[in-house]
């Protein structure tokens, strides 16, 4: 039925058009729950609550749309649509409940200590002091960024487009890092690289920069 009536297609477009600022609220679900719901892995009452909220919340509606897009493109095997509540189905639900108890430990572990923490107002931000995509020579491959408050320490990671790590350093005191030539030795000229900085502020908070690109001459 989808796509048969252009009027309904227009409704879809208008409905999908998020307002300029798709703000999330405290009642918004975390993305992992939406992902599980779209995979059909949550009990019906939980899914219903999430859908009901998403239909009133453009930001969560957007999260549902993205989950659908990513899942559809991923080629992941998904449970097919239900054909009724069988004993096997209840067993599957029980497994999901057990997993829901166990998995969050693993899923959220990366959010625990050391994971990026963004301040609500982002008063301190880290910016590159070089033009994005700048070309740097092997023997003068120095990355520079804006400083945090005195006492800030920085971690930096430089990766290739396949995310293999070229250089990774921690506890830098200066807001710059000269990448050793030997770290760049295996890279051909004109290689595109990406880098990002984590600033560890004296108050214990962490600020993560955007990802910047740079090119090896």
């Amino acid at each position: 039925m989808s796509g048969e009536d252009p009027g309904y297609e227009r409704l879809r477009e208008v409905f999908a058009a998020a307002p300029d600022l798709a703000a999330t609220g405290p009642e918004c679900s975390d993305a992992a729950r939406i992902w599980n719901a779209v995979r059909g892995e949550l009990p019906p009452h939980e899914t219903h609550a999430l859908v009901d909220h998403a239909l009133d919340c453009p930001a969560c509606g957007q999260a549902w749309r993205l989950a659908r897009e990513v899942l559809a493109e991923s080629g992941e095997a998904l449970p097919s649509a239900r054909r009724g509540w069988t004993a096997a189905h209840w067993a599957a639900v029980a497994a999901v409940v057990i997993a829901a108890v166990l998995i969050p430990v693993g899923v959220h572990e990366w959010r625990a200590p050391g994971a990026p923490v963004y301040r609500a107002d982002d008063r301190v931000t880290i910016h590159s002091l070089m033009p994005d995509g700048a070309a740097l020579a092997r023997d003068a491959f120095v990355l520079r960024w804006t400083e945090g408050p005195p006492g800030t320490r920085y971690s930096l990671r430089l990766v290739r487009s396949d995310l293999s790590v070229v250089a990774e350093v921690h506890a830098l005191e200066a807001a710059q890092y000269a990448v050793p030539a030997d770290a760049l030795a295996g890279l051909s000229g004109n290689t595109q690289l990406y880098w990002r900085v984590e600033a560890h502020l004296p108050d214990g908070s962490e600020i993560v920069s955007d990802t910047f690109s740079v090119r090896l001459e």
Partner: protein, 166 residues
């Protein structure tokens, strides 16, 4: 080191291009790249705990992308809040205003539908096919098609009563 990165990037680029709100259109590449960097961090921790699987990676990529979109949206909000004179912000164009108003009317009409029809139509409006909605809501495909068909008819009637012809 990370064989799936190219495929993850391709999928995220396409998905973000379709879903990313207009006010973040210029930052789509940043969103994808930031998300991939976070996936790298996630998988590194995951490898330590031997939990790296394909579905884990896709979930990680998805959640990282959503986090990036939300973070950038919050940053935009703060930037607007910091402006001393809100009246200086350019007013939205008339057609955008109209679309926004229609969007509100759609939500109002959705809220008047019976819950099963509302969810079926809502997922349809979010881009879900009947098979996908059936999986999400734990229903039969045929039942979902019926709910969507009848719910869309209800929605059309409600909108027409407000002077909006879909």
């Amino acid at each position: 080191m990370f064989d799936d990165a190219t495929r993850l990037r391709e999928v995220l680029v396409r998905a973000v291009a379709r879903v990313c709100p207009p006010h973040l259109a210029a930052q789509r590449d940043d969103i994808v790249q930031n998300a991939l960097m976070r996936v790298l961090e996630i998988t590194r921790r995951g490898e330590q705990n031997a939990v790296r699987t394909s579905s884990y990676l896709w979930q990680a990529a998805y959640t990282a992308t959503i986090d990036e979109i939300r973070r950038l949206s919050r940053r935009k909000e703060v930037a607007l809040d910091a402006q001393p004179d809100r009246t200086a912000i350019e007013a939205p164009r008339h057609d955008e205003e109209q679309r926004h108003q229609i969007g509100l009317e759609i939500r109002d009409c959705l809220g008047r539908l019976a819950p099963p029809r509302r969810r079926a139509v809502g997922l349809y409006l979010l881009g879900f096919q009947a098979e996908e909605s059936a999986r999400v809501l734990g229903s039969k495909v045929k039942h979902m098609q019926n709910l969507t068909y009848r719910g869309l008819a209800d929605l059309r009637r409600c909108l027409e009563s407000k002077g909006i012809r879909p």
